[in-house]
Symmetry: C2
Subunit: 217 residues, 2 copies
């Protein structure tokens, strides 16, 4: 699909703030700094568009009519836009900052914000995103492929990544070894991998919390 272009489209900063004047000022500042800027007057304005998927980040105000910044953050997380979020707000209160950070915000700044500080925060956020971008895209692809597996195939996959032998999986599912082989072949095709190792990697990446391990002992 995507012809691998490394044209490094300059990062897009998505600014969501209900204060027109402030938004304009920030946009100008960021453009001067070399970023592409898209601005939105409300959470809804941002959410109606399809999730952007290039490099970039979000700059959110906390207090806004309609859904506020934190709510928008949750929505963004749910939707899975890959963008890191920087909050930029007038009356930063500790509780809110803690909540925002705990929900994965990249930073939380308080107006008035020093120009250098803002740019530094953005640079950090973009850098962080760059690290996550490729892997998150990869995960999305995997999830798509996984979704094409039939229920039975998912069961077999489960067995395979557990290290079970075909005959064991067969016994477990109450079918024959031959059947398992058939499913396995299908799985390898659908998941687009060509080794068990890759399959294990892939299915590990699919599990919710990447941290998990197997203290099975």
């Amino acid at each position: 699909m995507t012809p691998s272009r490394e044209v490094a489209a300059s990062a897009v900063i998505h600014v969501v703030d209900d204060d027109d004047a402030f938004r304009a000022a920030i946009a100008r500042l960021l453009r001067v700094a070399g970023y592409e800027v898209k601005d939105y007057r409300s959470a809804g304005d941002y959410l109606v568009d399809a999730p952007p998927d290039g490099p970039g980040c979000l700059l959110l105000d906390l207090h806004m009519p309609g859904p506020d910044g934190l709510e928008l953050q949750e929505a963004v997380l749910r939707r899975g836009d890959g963008l890191p979020i920087i909050f930029l707000t007038g009356h930063g209160d500790v509780r809110q900052s803690v909540r925002a950070m705990r929900q994965g915000a990249a930073d939380f700044l308080v107006k008035p914000v020093n120009r250098e500080e803002l740019l530094a925060a953005i640079r950090a956020a973009l850098q962080r995103q760059e690290r996550e971008l490729s892997t998150s895209r990869w995960r999305r692809d995997l999830a798509e492929r996984y979704a094409t597996l039939t229920p039975r195939e998912k069961q077999v996959l489960e067995g395979v990544v557990t290290g079970a032998l075909n005959k064991q999986i067969a016994a477990l599912l109450g079918t024959s070894e031959r059947t398992i082989k058939a499913h396995r072949a299908k799985i390898m095709l659908k998941m687009r991998v060509d080794s068990v190792a890759e399959l294990v990697h892939a299915s590990a990446a699919l599990r919710p919390r990447g941290a998990g391990g197997k203290p099975v002992d």
Copy 2:
């Protein structure tokens, strides 16, 4: 080494605060809630002791003579105590809270703190630690086993988890397939796993950033 005892030694809350009265009050409150408490008057008092390794968490004041809470946090991270840190401070300022959270604090509360809120934070922190504890122990074990591999075996392992065939690994290392088989057997023994799947899991857990994936396409 460690005889697996599941005696669930009640969690220890380490309270570091320079305010004697406050410390005493908190300690009392926590003891009543069923926790074991150790209190320290300063960062130094905490750091001189060996890092505790049972279940528990840290409750830190931010403003203290000598190293302050944030500095103590850094020291604790460097030292690798496995304990989650909750900040509890009088004049919480957003910048500090953000910094604390970014450095991995479990929570950041502002005095005066609601009793329930504090206990909830502690419960959450302990729960979080519990999750991390087992996997971090598991990783440590893996690292130990990995360390026993000879350089050659590590190379072979690399190939195996990449999904390479024995013959390919052999070609890569310039030896025979038989040799690879020999190494593989040794690896499975030393790493204490009995399937390639487990091996892949294990070696993935060994890599620094657990997030990593393979956008090898």
